[in-house]
Symmetry: C3
Subunit: 477 residues, 3 copies
């Protein structure tokens, strides 16, 4: 029996994720090799711009790898720890986060619980590639690893801008509140010492969906900023238009919509205005709120048609499933759970109106993989606006990515897919994630070649397009 204390060292197989059949692996290796060093385009993610503006060292390994990564804390929670025990403090201070070293020990002693997960894949890659660590975490080496990581993190080579350069990130998109002044983006753009391209993303959900706590207050702040009465529906629309313009002026390429369901509703202007008034008064029902949110998603498409922001939709997640956990620790603490999602009916009003509008781009993401072959690929195979979003969240993992390609390519080819997005808060994992995607595309293409379905030269062109031309086109970079 192997115990935690004697876990073997890591070997980072240069052929990892490539097909095991030797002939197919040879093809995949060449495909991967051709794009392995290409710069990273990250058109959707959650790294804050201030991280790069301020360029401060990361506090410690727990802060960097555990606390903000709910892929990791969730599984530690499932293993029996309270969230504060692994670095996530209660909002009201009643349960402070465990000391970082203790949290780290807990993580290391439960490392085997991550075997086979996407998190384990990325973390291993980061530890080996960035830190030269080849020991698997365990109860015995936890302290030594913690110290070693922290020593690295204190050096200049591990400050955010140094990493940004080393990772060869050609573009990084952040995700921002519509009323954010984008000062960090502005500072970065003005900073002669930083040559990277960091662009904001307009994320208006909480201003559009009346069922979101605080919607009324946000609408009021939006009106105030815009200088229109909060009760004016036209002012509300104008304010949203103006904020989108502000984001565009600061380099934004897309607007992101994290809706519960991708319902779209085309509503008459006066009806929408009346409903807006009702909802602001607090008189609307849940059905009214749902309708209005669907209408506003429709309106966002209209604005994207007008101003050119790429529209991305990330639906289908039941947020904050464990209400007690939410109350104590807040959102994004690991209990957002996917639900069955329907696109064909829900998005028809939007697509009927804007599906063939010139230069409109609509990227559909999903965490319900049943829709890849049934709904999203057929939609993207007809509507010039629709692109198939890369596998997202729970599906952003080797086997799931393979299923995604197999489920979409036969209907829609490669050129209706979005290119990879990493969607991450975990800055250090960005290269590992993009590298994983390139390996998996190489693996899928190599199989097509080995099965006589595609010639090798075409496969080379496709993988090159998938890491560069395709995301540039889809996200208008």
């Amino acid at each position: 029996m192997v115990t935690d204390a004697t876990t073997p060292t890591w070997q980072l197989d240069p052929d990892r994720l490539l097909p095991v059949d030797p002939a197919t692996r040879r093809i995949a290796r060449e495909l991967y090799g051709a794009v392995a060093q290409r710069p990273i385009l990250s058109p959707h993610g959650h790294v804050p711009a201030a991280l790069l503006r301020d360029d401060k060292p990361f506090a410690d390994a727990t802060e960097l790898f555990l606390r903000h990564d709910h892929y990791v804390t969730r599984l530690l929670h499932a293993s029996g720890f309270a969230l504060d025990e692994v670095g996530v403090p209660a909002l009201d201070g009643s349960r402070p986060a465990a000391p970082p070293r203790e949290a780290w020990r807990r993580f290391c002693s439960h490392w085997r619980h991550f075997a086979g997960t996407a998190s384990a894949y990325w973390l291993r890659d980061v530890f080996v590639t960035e830190f030269g660590i080849t020991e698997q975490p365990n109860a015995v080496n936890a302290d030594a690893l913690f110290d070693r990581l922290n020593t690295h993190l204190a050096t200049d080579a591990f400050r955010p801008r140094a990493l940004f350069d080393r990772f060869d990130i050609a573009l990084l998109a952040t995700t921002d509140d519509p009323l954010d002044d984008l000062a960090a983006h502005r500072d970065l753009a003005a900073d002669p010492g930083f040559r990277g391209r960091v662009v904001p993303t307009f994320r208006p959900d909480a201003y559009l969906d009346p069922s979101t706590p605080g919607w009324h207050e946000r609408v009021a702040r939006l009106a105030e900023r815009h200088g229109t009465p909060e009760s004016s529906y036209d002012g509300y629309l104008a304010a949203l238009r103006e904020r989108r313009r502000y984001f565009l002026d600061h380099g934004a390429v897309s607007a992101d919509h994290g809706v519960r369901e991708p319902l779209t509703v085309e509503m008459d202007h006066d009806d929408a205005a009346a409903l807006f008034t009702t909802l602001l008064r607090g008189d609307g029902t849940a059905a009214d709120a749902r309708l209005f949110a669907g209408h506003m998603l429709f309106e966002m498409a209209r604005m994207s048609v007008d101003d050119g922001l790429v529209m991305t939709v990330h639906p289908g997640v039941h947020r904050n499933h464990s209400t007690d956990t939410f109350q104590v620790y807040g959102p994004d603490t690991g209990h957002d759970i996917p639900v069955r999602t329907e696109y064909v009916q829900s998005m028809q009003p939007l697509l009927r109106r804007f599906g063939t509008a010139p230069d409109f781009h609509l990227v559909l993401f999903t965490v319900d993989e049943t829709v890849y072959s049934r709904e999203i690929a057929p939609l993207a195979g007809f509507y010039p606006s629709v692109y198939i979003g890369a596998p997202w969240w729970f599906l952003d993992a080797p086997d799931a990515v393979g299923r995604f390609r197999a489920a979409t390519t036969e209907t829609a080819g490669f050129y209706r897919s979005s290119g990879f997005i990493d969607d991450t808060r975990a800055f250090l994992s960005i290269p590992a994630r993009h590298d994983m995607s390139r390996r998996l595309d190489a693996a899928y293409l190599a199989r097509l070649v080995a099965e006589g379905r595609l010639d090798e030269a075409s496969a080379h062109r496709i993988i090159d397009d998938l890491v560069d031309a395709q995301p540039r086109k889809v996200f208008k970079l």
Copy 2:
């Protein structure tokens, strides 16, 4: 970087689609070889009988490969072309189809958009096998390919009957309107110069579902043909029975039902008659129409039990999703999109009554692949009437077919599946499609052998049955 102008030549790998592992490939090669030359049985498709009766040369490559193949035009549309630009004219003449050569150029210059799709697989097979073309289409060779294909198409060897013989088609089923006089079928049967077997298929949807535009008029024409008052529900049923008999007399083996949902409703005769009257008067609600359509699907099963026509059901498609496109270009223009489909509850009334009726055959198709393991295989694993339809439409592609076998065989074996149907309008692609199916069955069976789950001799018997005995049994050929 490979450009369109330098795309490499095609090689048609004799082992294409077979498993890449050498030992498994050897087994698969033998299985495939044993059936590769077997005659083609095509018990469901959309080639018109007049094509073979008239035996006229195909007009040109665009007419043959693009215009009528919405698998192809849809993806060109998604790539940014209007449908008329790729050969599909507006119904009202306002946007005539582009000249065939121009449409062809657009197709060729976007060939890479098809990489990995089922269409690319079939087209390559047809181009290489039938025309000896080994250059991949691109912007440079488009004109030369067009001319070369057209030169072939003008020869006698490429007239429909010559192809029918060369393809070794033992049976071809067409799909026909219930009021079709089947003159083309009669002429073919009477023609001593044509020895093929071409049979009609009864497709009554538009006469059964009151929500179909023109339902009332069709019911009136049906009544007129039958000589009963249009308002008579009994006359309506009798007319349908009579038309089925007419089809049977002309060789039909099956009745095909392309319903939105496989709802079945057992309704009392008098209730059904009253509802029929209400709907004819135009007084029914959408719910009434749905109920009546469900009742008529039930009645079709009853008629199949009586007259022996195999009942095939193709549900789950939202037709004409882009309403603007539909209005300008008509139906079957690439925006029929699958929707989630439910069989277990929906078909229970039908199965409760007729599921074990002697000699009743009910073939269930799907474009929602989630139902293979959950619903269709378990139903076919119990009811002697139910057969699992071969992967259809969006699922008729290599990886999807693999998923189909893996999802159904473990519950229901091979002998509850329908055998392959090509369901195609694209006459020239028929051999490539059947060949693909045989390769994929060989691949799946070879894997079972290689994994020690099946002996090779049994695999040989099964693949032989799948291309011959099984479709003969299921479709009563």
Copy 3:
């Protein structure tokens, strides 16, 4: 053409189900080898305790392999036999079971219909391993096989206790009615001649769901046994608590819930009591019954939190789909059909209340495999109480198990899964089923190793845990 009369002999490939790639197979072989001989833990199944207490020889091959195995009889029924023709008698005696030898002949002559199914895999394993039979069943050898099997079954070596020892079963759980006196379990425990561990499982569905035929009578018997008035809701709850305690005292480790849908409802005590009264009076609607059943599932969780019984939930089956068959032959005759199932919303009331309760274990099974990646793995990846149930029923087959691991591991790792359960009535197939599971886990782990995603030493620890430590932990053995 191979005919039934010349079917080849079986070879039981020692590497069956392992990956075909030679390098991966080598890894898998070692992983499998390390656990192939480990004792069997069977924490959920349907073998009756009386079988082992009485230790009588099995009657004959038909009794043992056909009659009670609806995996087998269903497919024979689909092939055209009435159930009585293959050994299942009508309940009212109107259609007695065919003589065992005739039923056996029918099975043998249709053996090829099972090719590729899970049943064929298990049966072959049992025939070869336990009986040394290497001829595939066919019409010619049916009688000889029948005689040969029966000869073996008459020997002491094939009596239940001898098999129990030979199979090296460390624990076997039965499934029992809450009012069962568990005499067989008591006798077994008291029998110095039997050293095995056989534990009951509390299965209360028919006492909880008012829509179950006979619910009222069962509630009355429960009240009578407990000595409380049948109309007392508190008495009803107390009686259930008391019966769970009785089961615990007889060694039970879990309570199993075979609900139609996993709906849970938290209802106020007085509301629940009032609804109970209404339903007992027969005045409740179907919606009332659904609500009450949902509430009782919630209450069962509360009781599990209190008394420690592991809660297992097996939802999503439409029972007795063919109502005629049900009336003639009774339940469990092969026409229970899976339906789409939803867990995230349905179980939220339960999980909100008990999801993080100390020492509460909730194992979620499914026959709708779409929920593995979308719902169950994400739930199990957060809630410490939730474990992913092993593939069950229709999904308990090689390819389906592979899909299960691929769909769950990337989100939740290996340590949130339940370990294998065989869920079987077919006593002789238990070793074959557990062996299959071990082979498939070895295959999946070997692929992770071959793809550079996991080191071999960690894979060895994991497979060992999966057959021993994990089921011991999940089922509190």
